[in-house]
Amino acid sequence: MKLYEHIGKKLFFRYDIPIPYGKLAENAAEAAEAAADLGEVVIKAQVLSGKRGKAGAIAFAADPGEARREADRILQMNLGDAGVSKLLVEEKLNIEQEFYLAITVDGTTRRPIVLVSLDGGMDVEEVPEERMIRWTVDPYIGFQDYMVREICRRLGVGGELRKEFASLIPKLYRLFREVDAELIEINPLAVTQKGFIAADAKVTIDDDALYRHPQLPVIREKTVLELKAEELDLAYVELDGDIAIMANGAGITMATLDMVQHYGGAPANFLDFGGGADIEKTAQALELLLGTNPRVLLINIFGGITRCDVVAEAFARVKETRGIDLPVSFRLVGTNEAEGRAILQKVGIKSFTTMDEAVRHAVEMDRPS
């Protein structure tokens, strides 16, 4: 779960990580009021998209009037499907230098990794390897002071800057562990007269650990359908095509999408309904897909924990109660295959045994010759 900047900064504040003075504004008047208090300000759309700067959703304002105008403008924007409902109005920092600092988990080493660079800002991805320090942390030993000394030596940093890093990184690491973060990123980490200030805050909490953090606000930036899928514990992503796809397992669902595209079709979604779903859940997944009004429905089941008869039964039930009148391409093999196939036949659906046949059939039906 990604956190909005202002929530990430609240966490920073709680861990004694310096942040700019700022206020949250929900309309232009509040933004102007904040500017009256803070002087020169920066106004930032509170959205989860990473490209606010390039999209123009960050603006400076010298006075309350300008703050009002810019706030008005930004509140009208649409950023990555989502509107802007909140603005963070902060004192404009006198930035001398922009650093980059992040902590995440590296899948390759299976350990936390601290990333530090003296070249922060918008183009941090282009920083050459030798100017980006990657420090892998033994989770049992944790982040120790000597690591700051060595990181700073490699960066060629001493004096006050080293003291700032020595104070900052251990706090950030503690936050990282204690809130079960997947990623904490400060970019830019502003160097000012007053020392380091986190000018931005990107914090992503591990979804699987959210149950341990009931105090965190729930943040969702999803479509209504995606939210509904989440409630049903389905992995669902909307796409632009016409062929609705449902399969059991993330890998095989991806492979199904790949094949649809390979044969010239366009997937309408990604829907992995997981393993071992019961009739009820399978039926709900189907209903959700049908609600998106696709042109063709492609179901690809390779039964393992998932039982073919359960999927077929769910399909039959939905067909009877709600009606399914679009073309369906159904692939069904694996556990209780014969039973499943029989159920489908009763409701007039012929099923395929291979993914290849099923996908080709779906694509053909989508583009009648």
Binding site: V105, G107, R110, P112, Y140, A209, A247, D258, H262, G304
Partner: protein, 292 residues
């Protein structure tokens, strides 16, 4: 010779009294796996599928020493059960559990490393040395002995591919599911090293997907040290960048781990990359007859 596990591997089931645990204990026994005990706190003394249940892994190890343990433990308790198994002396830990918190997985791996134990998963279907020992949840009938070593990040997609092989009467030596999470114990490269040394494995099937850099690392290993033919299939060609698709690992980050970068790396290493699962049996069949 089989890698990781074989007909003598003694297997413990943690969470044996649950729905999944008991069902798959039966399935593993049916496959021929030497399941020798189960653990379920507070249920010691019960019997599941003819297998004795113990209160703790220590008790199990005292009474029925095991080499490997498979965990059917809900995510919030999985770390504790994994550390228990490692502390009690388990050498191979198979973590079926999905949704284990990331930082818990990090700790499990660090603990396993300090004890020199092997972890498969989490969020894996397990592993099987075909015809000898299955420690996992995959359907028994697809896993018949043969010359192909299979290693996969996905579950059902792996069954799909092994199913294609089986239909074409191509069996497997060992099939390993790495698991779909960001932090997993075994990576492609670990399993490839074993396959490289295993005389019975004549060819290797690698089932990857977008995200992470495990496929690129595998390609580097194949290029430098692998003498056996390798076929790969990768899922996620059509995935839009940055969208999350069920596997936490399947996020495209910073240009690394894209479909194209993986295909390019593998092909450069001499790996044959299949376009579709259905092509795989023929590709492997050809490579096997070439090399023999």
């Amino acid at each position: 010779m089989a890698i990781y596990i074989n007909q003598d591997t003694r297997v413990l089931v943690q969470g044996i009294t649950g729905r999944q645990g008991s069902f798959h204990t039966g399935q593993m026994l049916a496959y021929g796996t030497k399941v020798i005990g189960g653990v379920s706190p507070g249920k010691g003394g019960q019997v599941v599928e003819g297998i004795p249940v113990f209160d703790t892994a220590f008790e199990a190890m005292e009474k029925e020493p095991a080499d490997a343990s498979i965990l059917f433990i809900p995510a919030p308790y999985a770390k504790d059960a994994a550390l228990e198994a490692l502390d009690a002396g388990i050498r191979i830990l198979v973590l079926i559990t999905e949704h284990i918190p990331l930082h818990d997985a990090v700790e499990i791996m660090a603990c396993a490393e300090s004890r020199g134990a092997t972890v498969v998963g989490p969020n894996t279907f397990g592993l099987v040395s075909s015809g000898l020992c299955k420690i996992g949840i995959m359907p028994n009938r697809y896993f018949i002995p043969g010359p192909v070593g299979v290693v996969s990040r996905s579950g059902t997609l792996c069954y799909e591919i092994v199913g294609h092989l089986t239909e074409n009467r191509i069996g497997t030596t060992t099939v390993v599911g790495l698991g779909g999470d960001r932090v997993v114990g075994l990576h492609f490269i670990d399993v490839l090293k074993q396959f490289a040394k295993d005389d019975d494995t004549k060819a290797v099937m690698l089932v990857g997907e977008i995200g992470g850099s495990a496929e690129e690392e595998a390609a580097a290993f194949v290029s430098s040290s692998m003498r056996k033919p390798v076929v790969a299939y990768l899922a996620g060609r059509s995935a839009p960048p940055g969208k999350r698709m069920g596997h936490a690992g399947a996020i495209i980050e910073r240009g690394r781990g894209t479909f194209d970068s993986k295909v390019k790396a593998l092909q450069k290493a001499g790996v044959a990359v299949a376009e579709m699962p259905a092509e795989i049996p023929e590709m492997i069949g050809d490579l096997l007859s070439e090399s023999s």
